[in-house]
Amino acid sequence: MGMEQAWLLPAIPVALFVVVALFGRFLPREGDWLVIAGMAATVVLGLLVILDFQGYFEGSAFAPAGENHYAFEWAAIADVLAIDFSTYVDSITVVMIAVVTVVALMVMVYSVGYMHGEARYGWYFALLSFFTAAMLLLVVSGNLLQLYLAWEAVGLASYLLIGFYWERQSAAEAAKKAFITTRVGDVGLLIGIILLWRASGTFEIQEIIALAQSGGFDETYLTVAMLFLFAGAAGKSAQFPLHVWLPDAMEGPTPVSALIHAATMVVAGVYLVARMLPVFDTVLVARDVVLYVGLLTALMAATMGLVASDIKRVLAYSTVSQLGFMFVALGAGSVTAAMFHLFTHAFFKSLLFLGSGSVIHATGRQHVEQLGGLWSKMPVTGWTFLVGGLALAGLAPLAGFWSKDEILYAALSEGGAFVYVTLAATAALTALYTTRLVLLTFFGAPRDSSAHAHAHESPRIMTLPLLVLATLSVVAGVVAFDGVGELLGFAGGIGYLVFTEKAHAFEFHPDIAGAATAASLLAVAAGLVYWRGAAERAARAQAWAPELHRMLVERYYMDHLYQAAVDRIVLGLAGIVAWVDDHIVNRTGVDGGAQGIGYAGLRLKFLQTGRIPNYALAMALGIVTLALVAFGAS
């Protein structure tokens, strides 16, 4: 029992999806219990897979290279094309399994409270289940096509969940935007996958890696292919320039944002690049692209997070920024750091989202200008939110601190000073906007009294996941240390979970960590001093540098640019093509041809004048012509 059954991980939730989607309304409570029970089972199964991977069932031998390849022929054409379904489990996979199953379970439990009384309640749970299935399928995929299938499936789930409140036009638009934007990346991904197949003849990831490492690819070709592949990752993980969909995706229910748009789906890109990193390692140009795109995204998103007023949007920018951190790590060649940060980020970011959901649930408001002073009314939410915020800000000893430290270390050692400094500054910005968020939400005078008046702590079923996640946010970083893992009984320590190639214990780098921590603390202090819970300050910031503020609020005008590009260029082109089709192909070509024939008939029929001499003349001319032509010919 264990890795061989990895395929069950997606199978259980997808079966539940089918059951609940089709028959949910005939079940008590629309079947939410079924989904949660199934999810719990999946968590257990995931744990079994992880333990199996850790060699738990094989004595105490440390066997990190353990993998499982289970294949099922899906489509095949002669000897040229074989598409199998296969599962593959390695250290990256188990991290993902852990993150996905745990966060999903927490979010589902939380949703029981949050979504209580909503229309399409059962459908919501069915979709969550479907999403989890797709995500799990994605992480256990052994080949790229299966991964692509799951990749699109999570996109679909995301689309449906963002558009869950589809009666709101904005939700429908956001869903559309998310799908189309990621779809643009997916075009790249699919092209990349097919390009890899074209050169290697296989979709199996491990075979491609082996081939790449043995130099089986042309380098330029491989670079191009990997860049296409990365386009897919960038789309899904909201990296510049495809980041625009994620903030809008907050139109979905908040637990969904926590699960999909913070913890799991958006890290699929990170997962993909991490999975393919051995290949990236052979083409460093592509890896550098990953690094700098990540860096740019991290910085840009952090600055946008400074001015956003919607809690969820701030968190969304933060997510984009943190994903940038992970890509920087990958670009620096450190799978360890990236996956570690992915791991910790999943917990504290979903915590923050769920916390904001709790706030929204209580007040019905989600703009910080309308909040404030909730600390006393919602203590559990407040405390857990604070924990999450500090983790995000990267303050020791919370989870975020450890993983961010690893990334900064990787950045310094691989990327050089410029990367390090920029990244550290971004980390400081993170601390700054986190401070702003916490302060404006929970402290200071309430700015909307009616909302404040009937604000209340959320029910137990919602606070329980908050507490669990808060706990994880605290300890998740620490478990990386060998000793902790061994204490828990894991052979070799839990930290080995995130090792891909060589056994490498986490090291603490006091100099780097110290510098970054100092910067973050400074930022927190500055934030405390500046905002102190007063909303007017926000307005003052606007007055201080209106152009800059406006640029940040308008997200560097990227959305405008895209909108214009779509409206002017794409729709303009479509207009031209439609015009050509209507006027030239259709009216001139087809109708015109038909009319031309009809017109010929109309002209010709007037030859038939009705007069006998004319008729006779026609006959005479006929004869004379025949005779003359004949004479001329002979």
Binding site: R611, P613, N614, L617, A620, L621, I623, V624, A627, L628, F631
Partner: protein, 213 residues
């Protein structure tokens, strides 16, 4: 009915005028031919041929060119008689006879009746159609083409053989009996057609009543 024919008031005039015109036109030709005959350029049959040909062609031209419809009809008579002469030259007395009888005795009278019944004599001048130039062009081209073909060809024999009326009769009433019978049917049909169309329509009552009885 007879009173409506162009007789006799115009008849003499037409005959005299026609004769004069024909005489004036034919005189030079006659002269030329006589000279040619005298110097033995042409034989006697040729002399006759050209004379007859002149009458035929002249009459035909008169038929299609004369503005007066009555004159045109009379020119036709000249042509048809000329054609009978051609038959004689070719040694076919029977055909010449038939030509004179059928045309002279039948067709021309019929045509004159036609002229009379359509009151053509009230307004004897007919105009030609507007496509006269085309007609002339087509006529010339056609004549040219046919003549070219006639002279280009190498015809099997060049001797005019004597024909026997008896052989002709045996062929006609022996081998070609069936076509001959068909011709009879055909004439009957023509008669029916002429009768049906030419007779003045009665009031459209009698027959229909009978038909529905």
């Amino acid at each position: 009915m007879l009173r409506r024919l162009p007789l006799p008031s115009q008849f003499d005039r037409i005959i005299i005028t026609g004769g004069l015109v024909a005489g004036v036109a034919l005189a030079p030709l006659l002269l030329v031919l006589l000279v040619l005959l005298a110097v033995d350029e042409i034989t006697a049959p040729e002399f006759v041929f050209w004379l007859v040909a002149a009458i035929v062609v002249g009459g035909a031209l008169g038929t299609v060119l004369l503005p007066n419809i009555v004159y045109a009809a009379l020119s036709l008579v000249a042509t048809l008689l000329g054609v009978a002469g051609v038959y004689l030259l070719l040694g076919s007395e029977f055909l010449a006879l038939a030509q004179v009888l059928i045309y002279g005795g039948g067709v021309v009278i019929l045509l004159l009746f036609g002229l009379m019944l359509t009151n053509a004599t009230d307004d004897p001048v007919v105009t030609d159609g507007s496509q006269k130039p085309f007609a002339a062009m087509v006529g010339l081209l056609l004549a040219g083409v046919i003549i070219a073909a006639a002279y280009d060809a190498t015809w099997g024999g060049s001797e005019l053989a004597a024909t026997s009326l008896r052989a002709f009769g045996e062929r006609l009433f022996g081998d070609f009996m069936v076509p001959f019978i068909i011709i009879a049917v055909l004439l009957d049909i023509a008669l029916t057609g002429a009768y049906v169309n030419a007779r003045r329509e009665r009031a459209p009552a009698g027959d229909d009543q009978e038909a529905s009885s």
